[in-house]
């Protein structure tokens, strides 16, 4: 049972991790929390579902389509809710509020477009069960876990090894200095928000695949979980977000497995409170660094 629960925890954790990376990317570069991330996650799931059911795309094509859709939403988000505020140099709380506005708007749009009913991917995607005597894992869990890990690796490479990654890191360190050094910071910020939103949309498809519940409010709780992971791993720290996602997923599952299921969320979030007493900068950030990608 231990291994089975560990697999359950890792599957859940991988989706938390992919969501949290989106938050952490935007936080690292812009120093704001994008409250609309959960809703982009939700719309990503819907786009994936539409591509599969209406246009008969394969699951990986649908995932790519959802990521493109997410990136477009990210672009619109940056142009409408973030850039105008940045140019006016208002309080850093203003973009938080404007993204909450976008979140509510997107949720209402989804409710009107798709209705309140819960939907799921067609059952041919749920695949069969692979049985390794220690534990069982469904094909869909393998795909979801594998894709999540793959996306994280690609992102890590992108940030560490490429020129775009370098300019993102530079902008995260200091926007003005990066600008002085000839980096088009506006462009970098747009790219970052688009990248983060594409990852959010991908997470939406992955979660929808493994848990079969696509509906307009699905982004709310997942958004909170992502925020929790963001804090757990250290604000703006990508590796922290990955590890934090898995830790939260496993902790939640184990609290059900070896404790009482009623305390599931209390354990997850309680752990974060205790952790913050011990390491206020988060698990994976050095003190004073404030967390940068």
């Amino acid at each position: 049972m231990f291994f089975q629960q560990l697999v359950n925890g890792l599957t859940l954790g991988s989706s938390y991790a992919v969501i949290a990376i989106g938050y952490t990317l935007i936080f690292g570069v812009l120093n704001i929390i994008n409250m609309a991330h959960g809703e982009i996650f939700m719309l990503g799931a819907f786009i994936g579902l539409l591509l599969v059911t209406k246009f008969q795309f394969g699951i990986f094509t649908a995932l790519l389509g959802a990521m493109v859709g997410g990136a477009i939403l990210g672009y619109l988000l940056e142009r409408t809710a973030l850039r105008p505020l940045r140019q006016k140099k208002v309080s850093h709380l203003a973009p938080l509020i404007s993204t909450i506005g976008v979140a509510i708007f997107l949720e209402s749009v989804a409710l009107n477009l798709f209705g309140p009913q819960t939907r799921a991917f067609p059952s041919e995607f749920s695949g069969h069960l692979l049985d390794f005597s220690f534990f069982k894992i469904s094909m869909i869990q393998v795909i979801s876990l594998g894709t999540a890990v793959f996306l994280m690796l690609v992102l890590q490479l992108l940030i560490e090894k490429t020129k775009v990654g370098k300019s993102i890191r530079a902008t995260a360190e200091n926007v003005e200095t990066a600008g002085l050094l000839g980096i088009n910071t506006n462009k970098v910020i747009v790219w970052t928000v688009m990248l983060a939103s594409a990852l959010g949309a991908a997470a939406g498809v992955l979660v929808a695949l493994s848990f079969d519940a696509i509906e307009p409010t699905m982004g709310v709780m997942m958004g909170f979980k992502g925020l929790a992971v963001l804090i757990l791993g250290g604000l703006g720290n990508i590796k922290g977000a990955m590890a934090g996602g898995f830790i939260l997923g496993v902790a939640e599952v184990f609290s059900v497995a070896y404790g009482a299921s009623s305390y599931r969320d209390a354990v997850g979030f309680g752990m974060i409170i205790i952790l913050l007493f011990w390491r206020p900068q988060g698990l994976f950030s050095k003190a004073g660094e404030g967390g940068r990608p």
Partner: protein
């Protein structure tokens, strides 16, 4: 200069808003005159048309609207349906109830929709002396709010024991695991009923696991239950959670029958759970395959109007409107709320799409329960 133009814009916009409001006001006024005239009874419907519970609320709205349409086409006592959105939230339900009673001056109310919102807003109707009929409020103690509170929803305290006892007689299970949503008033009350019935039958409860409404991951709870290998699983959940639990359980290779409550009755449940629904057992007053003219006509009319099958919530809301109409006609008034209450309480021989119907002396329904099981993708009677 720029500031000035902003002011101008704001001024223009607020002017436009005022004018719009004025126009809307006029429109409302005219409508009111129309509704007041003649033999029209105003019925308020408190249901969730947006928010997390909107799937049920819209089903209820559709059933009610169909009933009102049919009644207005053939009966002398016309009905005007005023719909307020309670969003499935207690304070919204209180606002909706206050507005319907004190501003719109309705004769009777159908709703609120959830047991939780009925507990919150029911006392307002009671205090104002307005009869309120719950069509989907199934928790225990709803009608204890007062003598103006009725329901035609079969309380789960009646439906669950009927389903469990019949299933026990036929399947003869010995070990049961229970899963319920612990942040939903109704599901907690269902869980208590389960516990009582299983204790009475001498069934051993090997596990009690909880989750929250809108949860999507049940793998941890089900892995735990799978180890204990019960003969049957009892679930207290709405349709989304119920179908996800079944899907996950079947995915994990758990093949036992699953007893559920109200949520299992929704066609959405069958659509979502698909093949995994096989072996799901539920007690319900609504049985769409029943060889009964009323039931089949209702299904036909509903499908013609909305292009999909009605569910239990639509059926009970539809019956609810007919019940209220019958009471209003019998009372012979469209303004005396007390008289309508008394005539509603005395209803004995009503027959609707959910079967023969009467109120007991606590204003709960007395009706037969069909115990159904999913076989070959369809609900059939458990025999």
């Amino acid at each position: 200069m720029e500031k000035k133009s902003v002011f101008k814009k704001i001024a223009a916009m607020s002017l436009a808003a005022v004018m719009l409001l004025a126009v809307a006001g006029c429109g409302g006024g005219e409508k009111k005159k129309e509704a007041d005239g003649g033999n029209t009874a105003k019925i308020g419907l408190v249901t969730a048309t947006t928010g997390g519970a909107a799937a049920y609320g819209l089903a209820i709205k559709k059933g009610s609207e169909l009933a009102v349409e049919e009644i207005n086409a053939k009966s002398k006592t016309k009905l005007a349906l005023l719909i307020e959105d309670e969003k499935g939230v207690k304070n919204e339900a209180i606002n909706a109830m206050n507005k319907l009673i004190h501003k719109d001056n309705v004769l009777v109310v159908s709703g609120p929709m959830l047991s939780g919102t009925m507990f919150a807003a029911g006392p307002i109707a009671q205090q104002a002396g307005v009869p309120a009929l719950g069509t989907s409020t199934t928790a225990e103690g709803i009608t204890d709010i007062g003598n103006f509170i009725f329901r035609n929803a079969v309380p789960e305290s009646i439906a669950i024991p009927a389903a469990v006892e019949k299933a026990h007689k036929i399947l003869g299970f010995k070990k049961v695991a229970i899963m319920y949503s612990n942040n939903n008033d109704m599901q907690v009350s269902v869980f208590n009923t389960y516990k009582q019935v299983f204790a009475k039958l001498g069934t051993e409860v090997v596990a009690i696991e909880t989750f929250a409404d809108k949860d999507t991951d049940y793998s941890a709870q089900l892995t735990k239950i799978q180890q204990l290998n019960p003969d049957i699983l009892a679930v207290a959940a709405l349709y989304q959670e119920g179908s996800l639990i079944l899907k996950k359980a079947r995915d994990m290779g758990m093949k036992m029958p699953v007893i559920g409550n109200n949520g299992f009755n929704s066609p959405e449940f069958m659509k979502l759970a698909g093949l995994a629904a096989e072996g799901a057992i539920v007690g319900s007053p609504w049985f769409p395959e029943k060889q009964d003219e009323k039931v089949q006509n209702f299904r036909k009319a509903f499908k013609a109007k909305y292009q999909h099958e009605p569910d239990q919530f639509s059926a009970q809301a539809y019956d609810g409107i007919y019940l209220l109409h019958a009471a209003i006609e019998k009372a012979g008034t469209v303004s005396d709320r007390k008289k309508v209450r008394d005539s509603l309480a005395s209803i004995k021989d009503f027959s609707g799409v959910t079967g023969k119907f009467a109120f007991d002396d606590k204003r709960n329904p007395k009706m037969d329960i069909n115990v159904l099981i999913v076989k070959g993708g369809k609900f059939v009677e458990l025999k």
